[in-house]
């Protein structure tokens, strides 16, 4: 009897020690996204929020490079969060929205439509950046199942060590420095870019064989709409003002989105033809030759759209609320500091 008990204790000890070692190794080898691909931190940062938001932005790079929550607060007193990420496909956005709506009920959800062009999972690296930071829930399980490319396995999301063990040889200073904790990289989901690299020319985009937006992504768009409708949230569609040969918004897609919006009584704002009205200057408002807006361009767009949010959707000005103001004023200081540092560099 004693011998059996000993064996049990020894087995449990071995299991615990193995689990500890594996957890340690796993924490060491997973990418930290601190010096490059900062986007890999966006999903997890949302959970650090201590206050709710009246506006939630979802979508791909065109949301986290275009809308700045600190500006919305400063100019309109609107609380917001950008729950977007690099190449967030429609199913990423849906499940991240579902996840967010379990925690809060914003007044308006704004979805950027560019990613609707993708009907299938594209790239494991983007899946990892979108999903690894998500807290475990039914939404995360469903998101993984919807997102996996052919070579991926569900188990590798449960045990990222299975996927990242090969990074063992690449372990560097960053992996030790951010072993326990990571820096905050965004401003309520907005990833600031202060550089300026002008767009000097326009080029023809690649012709496509099929201009029909995929049924899979459109189904997820519909799921987002229904989810918002059930919760009494205004669901608004937007297309960011950027439109380069690489990230091109085809007229045929525009027609389909307009038809969808009209069918369901949704508002849709395509900012591409509104660049002049917004005040965008492609010689100074982009950091990568027109593919994305820099902070100066993002602020102009946010100012423009903030007016719409404030006037048309009557999103409240909450600057009078002392506790909320204290939180947001801190965010504003961090935002302005990074902007000033970026300008000086």
């Amino acid at each position: 009897m004693k011998r059996k008990l000993k064996m049990w204790i020894l087995s449990i000890c071995i299991l615990l020690i193995s689990a500890m070692i594996l957890s340690f190794v796993q924490a060491l080898v997973v990418p930290k996204y601190m010096t490059s691909s900062l986007e890999g931190n966006l999903t997890a940062e949302y959970y650090e929020e201590t206050t709710d938001h009246d506006v939630l932005f979802i979508g791909d790079c065109e949301v986290y490079e275009c809308f700045t929550p600190p500006t919305l607060w400063k100019e309109y007193g609107i609380t917001s969060y950008v729950r977007g990420g690099a190449q967030h496909l429609a199913w990423h956005s849906y499940y991240l929205l579902e996840d967010a709506l379990k925690r809060e009920t914003p007044k308006v959800v704004v979805y950027n439509v560019l990613a609707l062009k993708y009907g299938e999972p594209q790239n494991e690296a983007y899946n990892r950046m979108a999903l690894d930071g998500m807290k475990w829930s039914r939404s995360k399980v469903d998101a993984i199942e919807a997102s996996m490319t052919e070579d991926e396995s569900f188990l590798s999301y449960v045990f990222p060590l299975l996927r990242f063990h090969s990074r063992w040889s690449e372990i560097g200073e960053e992996d030790f420095r951010y072993f326990f904790d990571r820096d905050t990289v965004s401003h309520n989901g907005y990833l600031m870019q202060t550089g300026i690299e002008p767009m000097t020319d326009t080029f023809d985009p690649l012709p496509l064989t099929n201009y029909q937006l995929p049924s899979t992504s459109m189904q997820y768009l519909e799921k987002m709409r229904v989810l918002c409708e059930k919760k009494g949230i205004e669901f608004v569609l937007v297309k960011a003002p950027t439109n380069t040969w690489k990230y091109y918004w085809y007229d045929e897609w525009e027609t389909q989105i307009c038809a969808y919006a009209e069918k369901h009584g949704l508002d849709y704002y395509n900012f591409i033809p509104l660049c002049e009205e917004i005040g965008l200057d492609w010689s100074s408002d982009t950091y990568d030759r027109g593919a994305h807006l820099n902070v100066y361009g993002a602020e102009k767009l946010t100012m423009y759209f903030g007016k719409i949010l404030s006037e048309k959707y009557e999103v409240s000005d909450r600057r009078e609320q002392a506790a909320l103001s204290a939180v947001w004023n801190q965010k504003l200081v961090a935002y302005e500091t990074q902007k000033t540092q970026g300008k000086e560099q």
Binding site: I14, E39, Y126, L161, F203, D204, D288, R289
Partner: protein, 165 residues
């Protein structure tokens, strides 16, 4: 003792699973459609550097990054009769797509902008796929596409790299 053995085996198996997770290479059917210009062969998925050296400077070019994956630049090289689109892998630019846009050039098989769809099938046979405006011919990790206007005349020709067969 049995439990101790099972625990040890489980731990070893988990470690082995970690070490031997690998990817499979896709199959290849070997057929490639390429475009030739002034003796320079341009095929998708080839390194663009020697091709650019042979073609000379483009009229215009541009390079755009990939969001979230800094360093990977997609590029466009615009010549008077065709445009080359490239994607970067490990710092090297590979041709992702090639678009013929003028009737001054033609495919190796002799189809050019303005030709009717009948000429395409005469030269290439039946396409792998045909929709209202595009005739597609599958090759090895690539597709050759003839985009037609309303009058069924070729308005652009696209050589496109594809990952799947």
């Amino acid at each position: 003792m049995k439990m101790l053995k099972s625990t040890a085996i489980f731990t070893i198996l988990l470690a082995i699973l970690c070490c031997f997770t690998a990817c499979e290479e896709p199959a290849d059917n070997g057929k490639i459609y390429a475009f030739s210009h002034n003796g320079c062969e341009i095929a998708v998925n080839s390194d663009v550097a020697p091709i650019l050296a042979s073609l000379g400077s483009p009229l215009r070019s541009d390079a755009l990054g990939t969001c979230g994956l800094r360093g990977d630049m997609d590029k466009i090289f615009d010549y008077s009769d065709f445009t080359i689109y490239t994607a970067q892998i490990d710092g090297k630019d590979y041709i992702d797509s090639l678009v013929l846009k003028s009737d001054l050039v033609s495919t190796k098989e002799g189809v050019s902008i303005g030709d009717q769809d009948a000429k395409i099938t005469e030269k290439y046979g039946e396409p792998t796929e045909r929709n209202d405006n595009v005739l597609t011919y599958d090759g090895s990790h690539m597709k050759l596409e003839f985009h037609l206007d309303e009058g069924k005349a070729v308005k652009s020709i696209v050589y496109r790299y594809t990952i799947e067969e």
